[in-house]
Structure formats: structure tokens, C-alpha cells
């Protein structure tokens, strides 16, 4: 206590926090790289000669393996082909009145009159639009993929629940299955099974299994201990305990898994149309999009959307009982009446087929035959307002996309922005960034200052101009400090692997596209979420929109984006944002609405203005929930990358897509795994940041 006051005061200034030290080294290194980058261009563009031939090596191995095991898989393919053709034949054979009757009965049982009416309208639209046979083809694939995924997922979920030792491996596999874009494993599947719809079926089954596994594990893990013990004390044998106590108690959660699995299967079946050869609804959308027939692509896209919503509501109705209790119609539709109606539907089908054996009973020329005019009109609209869409596109392109991609230093040239930056302006920019960094360090700690500094740097050089050693080191350091040594090493290894595979430019393109999309989604979606949290009316309007956006297969989002903005990066950005904007809206609203009321009351009682209570109490309290939303947004954006490649990008998604075209299994897998790596890294980083303590 008697220590001289001088040293006491100066001590905090001299001491550097242990966490800050590596970043100082990092900044020095960055400066060094930036200075040297004109002399040593390999600092920015990784030289081709240095890449390792990992993809060809994978190809060599795959080829060797495939030639050995191919007969087995081809046989399996033949085995699966029969039920698939069977299901398809049956569904196409069923006359539409019978299908409508059966679906309406199911809808009535599931959630009442409103859904039944919606089902009739949706099916009626599909019929009138002239997409009935195609829809039935799609449905037949879904009908086969769902039982496979459900049983497989349930089995794996039970295994994961019963054996804690297996669980980490299982969860890791699930992460990969959900984050590797399906196009990437379509290639080896194609090699193994040969062309044809079976590949689509298997890809769907793979993609749709994880939600079932996760929900089964979740449900079984959440059986209250009292219920488990009550079962044991009743004298249950192991089997009785499992089937009569645990599974029924976990059933609502398992059914939620079934719903998600069904939706995933539908989404994948439609995407799998890219490999073609099967007359289904995904193929209709794709081919009309390629032919720039917007009328048809909107009509068929609407079919997909309606199918998705219908299947979602049907299955969720069975999974989650209505909070207000069953409606009159649901009570009326007892199990016995449902079975009777279904039998009636089959009888009706048989009768119709007996009476009119050859007639397909479809409207002779569907709506889509008469949309030539609509096509013309839509094209006209797009042409008439081209200046508007072009202006929007160019504004975003020049003000947001380019500076992020090639940086202010790259964009500020006479060719792009019409002027170049004098050295004085660059110096001023540097001074501004430094000043801002200093201010935020004083205001909210060195981490904020560092963030400002890095943002300034990225804005100046652009994502593409960033030297790769700096980038890799920075990410590894971040992972190390946020989530511990293991994630740091994981980040380091992952990025180096991508680098030596020669996918660095694609990686940077992906990162910059996703970063921008996520930031814009957070801004726009977050603002909408705040609005919805304060206004019940906005919430009521946004809810069905969000529901619809979330049930929609990813494919559908390409249609409007492509129609208005043509092929290009901006179109991809719009498509990604359409898909990824729902989580911020949802989570921000939910987080704000469920902030602890007593805290808010305390803050308001102190005399906080509404803005103060929002920014200083509610948002910080809702932060964990908002971060969950951020996580979901990133996952959605990354998963959309592969789909968005269809409208022309230069990122990892495109690498996967190109590999698919060339049947290059190695490159496809490496690029697909790179996307999965980004997703898993982002997920772990955010989880660690939310839980707030580094995992050892």
C-alpha cells in the first residue's frame, strides 16, 4: 500500500494483456506482408506450382475403389429401382380425384378444415397448371426417401442415445452430412450407382437423415427421469421400457424430426433434378429457367412451394397437437373414419380406372401451355424496367460488392469509380481507421479496437487483396482465443489444406459473398425483427412470410432473383439473402419478446428512453438468442452457396458444380468439404463465443 503512486498509476499502461500480445505480432506481420506484396506476389496469389495434387489422388483412389465395388452398388441400384418405378407408377396411375380425397382426409385429421381447404386448392392449382404427373413423380421419390431416412435416422438416434461413447463420432458425421453440399457427394454416388433417379433418391436419403437422428436423440434424452423410473418401478423389461415408456414419451420430438426429414427429402429431390433424366417438378423448373421461360418457371416454382407448404403442415399437424385442443373437424375425423375414407379413395381410383382405362383425366392443355403470353409479358416487364433493376444492381455492385472484393485501393481507379486516390487520401484513410480504433479501444476494450483495425484493413485491400498468411494466421488466432487450442489447430489445418489444393481464390470469393450476405441479412432481418417485436401487426404479417420462406426448397429462390437481375454475382447474393434472412428476423423477434420482463421494468423505471432500453437492456440481454440466429444465418448462406452456383458465381459452390459437370469426384469432394469446414468452423466459433468460455 505504501508503493509510490507513480508506478501504481503507470502499471496498467505498460502491462499488455496476454491475449493482446499475439495480435500485436500479427499486426506487425500484416504490415510487413502489405509492404512486401508488390515485390512478392505469392503473398496474395498462391502460386499454382505449390499446390498438392490431392484431388487427383482422391480420384485415383475413387476410381480404383469404384471399379471393385461398382457391381454391388449397381445391383443395389437395380433393387431400389423396382420399388421406385412401382411407387411412381402407382402415384401416376391414381386418378386425381382419389388423391385429392385422400389428402383432404389426412389434412382434416392432421389440423382441421383450413388445411383441408388449402390442400384442395393447392392440388387443384397443380392440376390446372398442368404439372400433375411431374408432381406425382417428385412425390414418389419423396415417399421412398422418407421411410429410408426415417428408419435409418431412428436407428442411429437410438444408437447415439444408448452409447455415449459413439455419440461424438455420430455427431461429427451428422455435421458433415448436413454441411457438405449434396452436389459434392452426388459425384461419387453417380460413379457408384450410374445415372438415373436412384442417385437422387440416395442423395435425398443421405441429406434427410440427420434431422431424424438429432431429434430422436434429443427426444430420448429428454424423457424426464421420473417417467423413466416410474416405468422401471412398474416392472418393465428393457424392451417394454423402451417401446412403452421412452419412445411414446419422446414421440412428439421424434415426429418433429420426421417433419424436418420429409422437408429435407423434398428439397433434395428437387435439387437432384440437376442430374436430370427424371420427369419431375425440379426438372421442369430447371429447364424452364435455362430456357428463360419465366412464366413456366414461376408456375412450376409455385407448384414446389405449394407442395412444400402442404407436406410441412400435414406432418407438423400430426407432430404437434394444437395448443387450443383439436378442432371439431379433427375430432370428427376419427381413425376409423380416416381409414374408411382412404379405402373409399382407393375404391374410387379403381372404379375410375375401370370405367375410363385410358383417359388420364387431366386438363387437356394445362395452364403452362398457355403461358406464352405471360412469358412475353414478363419478359417485357423485365425489359421495360431493366433500367431500374440494372441501377439497383450496379449501385450494390459498385458500392458494396466491389469494395469488399477488391478493396478501396482496387476500386478507386478511374475505370471503376472514376477517380483514383491521391496518397494524401490514403494517409487520411489510415489516420481515420487508427483514430476510430483508438476510440473504440478506450470505449470498449482492445478487442473492439482490433475489430475496427481489421475491418479497416479488409476494406482497404479487399478480400481478394488480403495476403493469405495474414488471413490464415488471423483466423487461427481468433479460433484459438475464442474456443481454445483444438479449434485453433482445426482452423489452421483446414485453411492450409484448402490453400494447397489451389482453392484459395474460390474460398475467398465464398467468404466475401457469404460475409456480405450475412451482414445484410443481419441488418435488414434484424431491423425487421425489432419492428416485429414492437408491433404485433408486423409480427402477424411477417410470420407466414417467414414460414413460407423457410419451408421453400432452396431451389425456388433462384427464380425471382434470376428473372430480375440476370446471371451474376448480385443475383447469387439476392438468392442467398432470400434464403438466409429468416433466422435473424425470427431470432431477434423471439429474443426481444422474451427478455426478462423484470429487468426491462427496472430499466424503464430508471427513466430510460425507448431507444436506451432497446440498445442498453433488451438487445444485450437477447444477445445469446440473436447469436443463435446468426449461426443459423451463416449455415443457411453457406448451404445456399452450392445452389447459387447455378446462376454464376466464382466461389467454392461453383467449384463443386463444375466438378459435378466433369464428374471430377476429387475436386468435388475437396471443394464440398471446404464448405463444410467453413460451416463447422463458424458454428463452433459462435457456440464458443456464446457460452463464453474456451473449450479445453
Amino acid at each position: 500500500m505504501t508503493a509510490p503512486a507513480v508506478s501504481f498509476r503507470s502499471a496498467p499502461r505498460v502491462a499488455i494483456e496476454p491475449g493482446l500480445l499475439p495480435w500485436c505480432v500479427f499486426m506487425v506481420l500484416t504490415a510487413l506482408c502489405l509492404v512486401l506484396k508488390t515485390d512478392f506476389p505469392w503473398l496474395v496469389t498462391f502460386p499454382k506450382e505449390w499446390t498438392l495434387p490431392l484431388a487427383p489422388a482422391i480420384n485415383a483412389v475413387t476410381d480404383a475403389v469404384v471399379t471393385v465395388v461398382q457391381p454391388v452398388f449397381r445391383a443395389l441400384s437395380a433393387v431400389l429401382d423396382a420399388p421406385m418405378r412401382g411407387a411412381r407408377t402407382v402415384l401416376v396411375w391414381l386418378p386425381w380425384p382419389a388423391v385429392m380425397l385422400a389428402v383432404a382426409a389426412l389434412a382434416l385429421k392432421s389440423s382441421g378444415v383450413r388445411l383441408a381447404v388449402f390442400a384442395l386448392l393447392a392440388l387443384g392449382y397443380i392440376l390446372l397448371a398442368g404439372y400433375w404427373p411431374q408432381s406425382m413423380s417428385t412425390l414418389s421419390l419423396v415417399l421412398l426417401a422418407v421411410p429410408i431416412s426415417t428408419m435409418l435416422g431412428f436407428g442411429l438416434g437410438v444408437l447415439g442415445h444408448a452409447s455415449p461413447r459413439l455419440r461424438p463420432a455420430l455427431l461429427g458425421t451428422l455435421d458433415l452430412m448436413q454441411t457438405v453440399p449434396a452436389f459434392a457427394y452426388l459425384i461419387p454416388l453417380l460413379l457408384l450407382f450410374g445415372f438415373g433417379p436412384v442417385v437422387g433418391l440416395i442423395a435425398s436419403a443421405i441429406y434427410a437423415t440427420p434431422p431424424m437422428v438429432r431429434n430422436t436423440m434429443l427426444g430420448l434424452g429428454r424423457v424426464p427421469s421420473d417417467i423413466g423410473e416410474a416405468g422401471l418401478m412398474s416392472g418393465c423389461t428393457r424392451r417394454q421400457q423402451f417401446w412403452q415408456v421412452e419412445v411414446p414419451t419422446a414421440l412428439p420430438q421424434i415426429l418433429v424430426g420426421f417433419n424436418q426429414t420429409t422437408m429435407a427429402a423434398l428439397s433434395m429431390v428437387i435439387v437432384a433434378a440437376i442430374i436430370g433424366g427424371f420427369e419431375d417438378i425440379g426438372w421442369e423448373v430447371l429447364s424452364s429457367m435455362r430456357k428463360a421461360e419465366f412464366g413456366q418457371s414461376i408456375l412450376s416454382g409455385l407448384v414446389i412451394a405449394l407442395l412444400a407448404i402442404l407436406i410441412d403442415r400435414l406432418t407438423i399437424g400430426f407432430a404437434k397437437p394444437r395448443p387450443a385442443g383439436p378442432t371439431v373437424a379433427m375430432i370428427w375425423m376419427t381413425g376409423r373414419r380416416l381409414v374408411a375414407t382412404l379405402v373409399l379413395a382407393v375404391a374410387l381410383a379403381a372404379a375410375i380406372r375401370l370405367l375410363w382405362p385410358d383417359d388420364r383425366l387431366l386438363p387437356a392443355s394445362g395452364l403452362r401451355m398457355q403461358v406464352g403470353g405471360v412469358n412475353q409479358w414478363l419478359l417485357g416487364v423485365v425489359r421495360d424496367y431493366a433500367w431500374l433493376f440494372d441501377d439497383i444492381r450496379n449501385a450494390v455492385l459498385y458500392c458494396l460488392l466491389l469494395p469488399l472484393r477488391i478493396g478501396i485501393s482496387g476500386a478507386a481507379t478511374p475505370a471503376l469509380w472514376g477517380f483514383s486516390l491521391p496518397p494524401a487520401a490514403i494517409a487520411a484513410y489510415c489516420a481515420l481507421v487508427l483514430a476510430l480504433a483508438g476510440l473504440s479501444t478506450r470505449g470498449s476494450g482492445w478487442r473492439a479496437g482490433l475489430a475496427v483495425l481489421v475491418t479497416g484493413l479488409v476494406l482497404y485491400t479487399g478480400f481478394l487483396g488480403l495476403p493469405w498468411p495474414v488471413f490464415i494466421l488471423g483466423m487461427a488466432l481468433l479460433a484459438l482465443q475464442v474456443a481454445g487450442v483444438r479449434l485453433g489447430l482445426f482452423a489452421l489445418a483446414g485453411f492450409i489444406l484448402i490453400l494447397v489444393n489451389g482453392l484459395w481464390p474460390q474460398l475467398i470469393q465464398s467468404l466475401y459473398l457469404c460475409t456480405l450476405a450475412v451482414l445484410l441479412c443481419l441488418l435488414i432481418g434484424g431491423a425487421l425483427g425489432v419492428w416485429a417485436a414492437y408491433s404485433d401487426r408486423v409480427s402477424r404479417i411477417l410470420k407466414p412470410v417467414c414460414d413460407a420462406l423457410q419451408t421453400m426448397p432452396q431451389f425456388v429462390f433462384l427464380i425471382p432473383a434470376l428473372m430480375f437481375f440476370k446471371v451474376g454475382e448480385f443475383t447469387a447474393l439476392i438468392a442467398i439473402m432470400l434464403y438466409a434472412i429468416v433466422p435473424p428476423i425470427r431470432y431477434v423477434e423471439h429474443g426481444l419478446r422474451h427478455v426478462r420482463a423484470d429487468v426491462v421494468e427496472a430499466v424503464e423505471q430508471m427513466g430510460a428512453t425507448p431507444a436506451q432500453s432497446l440498445f442498453q437492456a433488451k438487445l444485450p440481454l437477447a444477445l445469446p438468442v440473436v447469436m443463435l440466429g446468426l449461426n443459423q444465418t451463416i449455415m443457411a448462406a453457406l448451404s445456399m452457396l452450392a445452389i447459387a452456383a447455378l446462376v454464376g458465381t466464382r466461389d467454392l459452390g461453383q467449384a463443386v458444380y463444375v466438378a459435378l459437370g466433369k464428374a471430377d469426384a476429387g475436386m468435388g469432394l475437396v471443394a464440398g468439404l471446404s464448405i463444410a469446414f467453413l460451416a463447422i468452423l463458424a458454428d463452433r466459433l459462435i457456440q464458443a463465443a456464446v457460452s463464453g468460455r474456451p473449450a479445453a
Binding site: E229, M233, S234
Partner: protein, 352 residues
């Protein structure tokens, strides 16, 4: 009074230890273990002794209450008795047979026919109706539908829930749900009835009603009961005998009156400080044999509390004949022994 009844369940030196290798500490047969020293050592070596050397006996038809604060190991102990939790060491004798040696099959048979259990959070199956829940243990045994439903209806009537057979658990109030839990645990007609904090999740008013209901049922059914609670009032109200647990160890076993009159240590004394002596102590607790003298004219029941006697004492009665003590002949209760308790209560009040 409990001496005359046969022992139903005996628990001898039962331990439950959580940790890396609890078995290591109990393989030295033949040595006399000093429980406190071993518990101390276990804690020092990163193990958690949840139940420390529990020894007690429960007589047929008795209500044996195990009381302690949360974390004192009482729930673990009752789970050891039903082998929902496997004890680390000790013996549990059920009708003289060691439960811990029962095979899986024997255990299932015992649970199906001889044991019933009621849980704090009811443990009702959400997908079954009330009727289905109560009939569930019988369904597990493979009883035909008609028989098990008839029995379940009988049980539902017993707990006063007629007319709710078709409802689902989430449609009932907490008290009603616990009635279903009680009906279910009684459906197989068990000899041994475990109740693990059955009324702790209920509102105080409902809790009181359920206690009365419980006592009414016990007067009819005469089960052997192990009742777990952290509520002292409930424990003293319901218990024939009670055990007080602290940090895994049973610190005192006795009848409620014994415990309030002679607490084993400061902890128990402090714990029971607020229990009104006059209400806890019954006439039978203070009665002495007549030893040849003729019985007084005034008589009281053995289970009448001293509080009920005060007005009669005030009217000048000097002694009572205590009836139904279980020993057959009436016993003697003098006014002076009642007044001694009254004086003691007075002292406790003024001290605190």
C-alpha cells in the same frame, strides 16, 4: 409399539458413492469400517458419498419417514432401496431376503408385485389417459384388458378421481396428477410403498389435503411405507418413526416425540426447534404402566396430542387413563408429566 410387528424391510450399512472407482473402497471384507473416517477419506479423494452407512429397519404397516434438506441423500437412499440406484455396499433385506442379490428377472418380478413408488414430479406417461396410466403396471404384466381396467377404475375411485378416466395428464391439476400417481402405484397391491417427496411440488393448501388423503388411505390399506420429504411439518405429521439425514448420514432415528424431546445433536435440535412440542407429542408417548393402580376415570386415546388435553387439565383433572396403546391394558398419564412438557416448551420459546 413397533416391536410387536414383523420387520418388512431392513437396511444394513448401505453406502452409495459416486466417483471414478467407488468399488475400490469396499472390497476389504471383514474389517470394521469407521463410517465417518471413510466418508471423510472419500470426499478427500474426489468421491461423493451420497449415502453413508445407512442402517434402519421398517416394520410391517409402519410409516417410516426419511427427512433431510435437499442434497442430504434421501432421494438416493430410497432409490437404493428399490434398486433404481445400485448401492455401492451394504445389505437390503426385504422379508429377510437380500434385495441386492436378486437377479434382473427377480427384481422385475418384485417390482411388478411387491413394490409401488410415487414420484415428486408424478412421472405420468403423457401419451396415456388416466385410465391407461393407472392400468399401465398391469399391462406390463400382461394382464387382460378387462381385468386391468376394472382394477384401474377401482384405484381411480379410491383416490377420488371418478369421471376423469378419459382425461390426459396435462389436463389435470398438480394435485389430481399426484392422485393418479398414487392410484398407479397402488394398482398392483404392493406390500412396500415408496413415496419420494410426493407432495413437494404442490401448493401448501393442496399439500395439506393430500396428507389427510394419504393418512386416510393408510388407515384402510396398512402398507409398509417409506416416505421421503424435506418438509419437517409433513414429516412429524405423518411419521410413525422418522430418520433425519444430513450429508448422506442418518443422524437420528426415532419416533417424533423422541426426536423433539431428545435430539441426538445440535443439528437435530436446531432443525426441530420450531416444532410445537404439544402438538408433536401424543398421550401415548408419555404414558407409564399403571403398575397395579386402578385406572383414572378420565380416559384419552393414545394418539391424542397433548394440546388436546390442555382444556381438560385446566378443569382440574389430575390423571388420565390412556387407551389403545397397543399393549392391551390402559396406561397412566399424569398431569405433572404433561405440565413438564409445557414448561419445556415455554423455556424454548423464551430462549429463542
Amino acid at each position: 409399539m413397533s416391536d410387536t410387528r414383523p420387520i418388512k424391510l431392513a437396511c444394513r450399512n448401505v453406502w452409495k458413492v459416486y466417483g471414478r472407482r467407488p468399488g475400490y473402497y469396499f472390497d476389504s471384507r471383514g474389517y470394521v469400517i469407521d463410517p465417518d473416517a471413510l466418508a471423510e477419506r472419500l470426499r478427500a479423494e474426489a468421491h461423493l458419498p451420497a449415502v453413508v452407512d445407512a442402517t434402519f429397519e421398517v416394520a410391517t404397516g409402519e410409516i417410516f419417514v426419511i427427512m433431510g434438506l435437499s442434497g442430504s441423500g434421501k432421494s438416493t437412499l430410497v432409490r437404493c432401496l428399490s434398486r433404481l440406484v445400485e448401492p455401492s455396499a451394504g445389505e437390503i433385506l426385504f422379508d429377510g431376503k437380500d434385495l441386492l442379490k436378486a437377479t434382473g428377472k427377480e427384481l422385475i418380478e418384485l417390482r411388478r408385485h411387491a413394490m409401488g413408488m410415487v414420484f415428486q414430479n408424478f412421472g405420468l406417461l403423457p401419451h396415456l389417459t388416466i385410465l391407461g396410466n393407472v392400468a399401465f403396471p398391469l399391462k406390463i404384466q400382461g394382464k387382460p384388458v378387462k381385468e386391468r381396467e376394472a382394477r384401474a377404475r377401482e384405484m381411480i375411485a379410491l383416490v377420488g378421481l371418478e369421471g376423469r378416466e378419459g382425461s390426459y395428464p396435462h389436463q389435470l391439476s398438480g394435485g389430481q396428477q399426484q392422485r393418479v400417481g398414487i392410484a398407479r402405484s397402488l394398482a398392483v397391491g404392493p406390500e412396500l410403498w415408496f413415496l419420494d417427496e410426493p407432495f413437494s411440488a404442490l401448493d401448501p393448501l393442496i399439500r395439506r389435503q393430500m396428507q389427510d388423503e394419504f393418512l386416510r388411505l393408510q388407515r384402510m390399506l396398512r402398507k409398509t411405507i417409506i416416505f421421503i420429504t424435506h418438509d419437517m411439518g409433513e414429516a412429524f405429521r405423518l411419521a410413525d418413526r422418522l430418520a433425519i439425514m444430513r450429508a448422506g448420514k442418518i443422524v437420528q432415528i426415532g419416533r417424533p416425540a423422541e426426536i423433539v424431546l431428545n435430539p441426538a445433536d445440535d443439528y437435530v435440535a436446531q432443525f426441530t426447534e420450531d416444532m410445537p412440542l404439544l402438538r408433536v407429542i401424543k398421550a401415548g408417548d408419555l404414558a407409564t404402566p399403571l403398575a397395579g393402580a386402578s385406572a383414572p376415570d378420565q380416559s384419552v386415546a393414545a394418539d391424542a396430542s397433548l394440546e388436546e388435553l390442555i382444556p381438560r387439565l385446566a378443569s382440574g383433572v389430575g390423571a388420565f387413563a390412556v387407551l389403545d396403546t397397543g399393549a392391551g391394558a390402559p396406561a397412566l398419564l399424569t398431569a405433572s408429566s404433561v405440565l413438564a412438557v409445557l414448561e419445556r416448551e415455554q423455556k424454548r420459546r423464551t430462549r429463542s
